[in-house]
Amino acid sequence: MSGSGEGHVPARSRVLVAVLNSLRDFEIARHQGWYRIPFDRAPRRVGADFLAFYQTKPFAGEGWAVNYYSPIRRYRLASRRVLLPDEPEHPRADAIYYKIEIGPLLRLPHPIPSARLRRITFIPTTLERLLQAEEINDLWCGGLEEERLWLAFKEQGLSAERRYPLREADPEYCLDFAFFCKKGKIAILVDTTSEIENVRVVRERPLVEDYDVAASGWTLLRLSSEEVRGAQPACLERTLDAVEGHGGLLLTAPM
């Protein structure tokens, strides 16, 4: 696969999908060739071969979708004051940022839209997924069980949001799948510890407690990895029943 227009690029190349919230930042990416991430607020995975851009509301026709990506050339650390010298009075002027230097913007074969115009922070993914994704939720790389469920939901026409934050202020805590129904919201959490039996690997994302899910107004379905592996049809049936019990799916999620 040759996606960058340069040498051979393996499909497993890492991609970081980042958010573009302003036309100015898009112009910086396009003409000056860089993007910034606050060092102290950088996601758990910042390293990547490519940067892709999820454009939001200000981009009108191109908004709420990933349209462009670009090979990463370098990561530098610099203060905001150095990166944006015309904003010396900005409250974070002295904060340190990753300045991610990129090559030319490349247009994806087709946009990757968010059907529900959702807010995201960062999505670590692969070039293969980026080039094949039909919608934003296809980008997340989950564990084996999560991926199985996602494909099963898609086959059933069950439109879910993946990695949906429980609270907007704390995107670390997120639901594996979120269903927005006419009479409420359904959260699905898949309990996995490790892909390897008998080895305990600490989860990358913190555990979400049942109480927090319920307190935020969600109906929780917790599925164990054994259930998903051994009884996927039953998991699907439970989900379908729950969606039906909540009046069926809404077309768009409340923002």
């Binding site: 960058s4 340069e6 040498g7 051979h8 690029v9 190349s13 890492r14 060092f39 758990r44 995975r45 910042v46 390293g47 990547a48 071969d49 090979p71 990463i72 050339r73 370098r74 990561y75 530098r76 650390l77 340190i96 990753y98 090559g103 670590p124 692969t126 790389c141 490790s194 892909e195 390897i196 008998n198 080895v199 305990r200 690997v201 600490v202 990358e204």
Partner: protein, 319 residues
């Protein structure tokens, strides 16, 4: 005692150890450092305090035909310093292992010069990270070239030619077929270079018939006072392997079972072998040491061993 693992993370998919792009795609040390930062966060989550970084962290940094890549370390001064602070905050002991192409005692001067350059690059990265003296670059003696005494002497000579700041970080490991612990001990006596003990290599190549206890003691006591020694540990593979072999026409393939070779690493570490080894070292009242685990299951082998040690030998504290 810290336990560490080399390079590749298996416990969480998608954590790359370094920028693996080819030169045409402009790989850079700074990209490797961004990947490394993500790995450090993972290590901290798993409470792993020792890690061997990829030897190719600075891609093509010593490639003679690609001078455009030769200044990456200087270009990353700030990024290295910040990552070093993170390593310090996480109490991470970091190291490099020189690639097999680094042959300090080569007969050919160009190859030897290239080897010395490799050592310089790796030590410069550790210096850039601002790490203490426990962060080392591990290497082997090199080639025999039909005359072991001369090969040993040549290593000593070339080692002495390295700048002091490079020598401070270089340590020497016994190998499994050419230079034994007795050989590395001789080099240590000549130069003072600290020694990394690899018991599996030792079992494979110990023509002097040295005892394990003696070999371990020589290596652990070779480290300067105040710097904790480190050693390698692996279990020999015992499992049968199914291998595919291409036919003469390069199209047909045949499958055959292959018995393990004694130099191969197993997927995981034998916990009983490990516990016995550590108990014996403690019984001898040898200096404390950290252990770099060399197993095919990488971090998963470490996490598994740690649980096994806690179960079977709770008196051994393995971080």
């Amino acid at each position: 005692m810290r336990l560490g693992f080399p390079v590749k993370v298996l416990g969480q998919p998608g954590l790359k150890s370094h920028d693996t792009r080819r030169w045409q795609n402009y790989p850079h040390l700074s990209v490797s450092l961004a990947y490394l930062r993500d790995i450090f966060l993972y290590l901290d989550r798993q409470d792993i305090r020792m890690y061997r970084m990829a030897a190719d962290l600075a891609p093509y940094a010593s490639h003679p035909d690609l001078p455009g890549f030769h200044h990456q370390i200087e270009e990353c001064t700030r990024e290295l310093a910040e990552l070093g602070k993170m390593a310090d905050d996480f109490d991470l002991r970091l190291s490099f292992h020189l690639p097999a192409t680094t042959v300090l005692n080569a007969l050919d001067e160009d190859t030897a010069r290239q080897g010395a350059n490799q050592v310089r690059i790796h030590t410069a990265i550790l210096d850039g990270l601002g790490l203490g003296p426990e962060a080392v670059v591990v290497g082997h003696v090199g080639g025999v070239y039909g005359d072991k005494d001369s090969a040993l002497a040549r290593f000593v000579e070339r080692y002495r030619q390295l700048p002091p700041r490079v020598r401070r970080r270089l340590v020497l490991e016994n190998d499994d077929g050419r230079f034994s612990v007795a050989d590395t001990v001789w080099i240590h006596q000549e130069t003072g270079i600290p020694l990394v003990f690899d018991p599996l290599h030792f079992q494979n190549h110990n023509p002097e018939g040295m005892s394990t206890a003696e070999a371990l003691e020589h290596c652990l006591r070779s480290w300067p006072p105040g710097i904790r020694a480190k050693m390698h540990f692996s279990s020999p593979r015992t499992a049968m392997r199914l291998v595919e072999r291409k036919g003469g026409d390069q199209r047909s393939t045949s499958r055959l079972l292959r018995a393990p070779r004694p130099r191969q690493h197993s997927d995981f570490i034998d916990p009983f072998q490990f516990c016995s080894f550590v108990r014996e070292a403690r019984r001898q009242e040898l200096p404390e040491f950290d252990v770099m685990l060399e197993a095919k299951a990488k971090d998963l082998a470490l996490l598994h061993l740690r649980e096994q040690v806690a179960r079977f030998a709770p008196e051994i504290t393995a971080e």
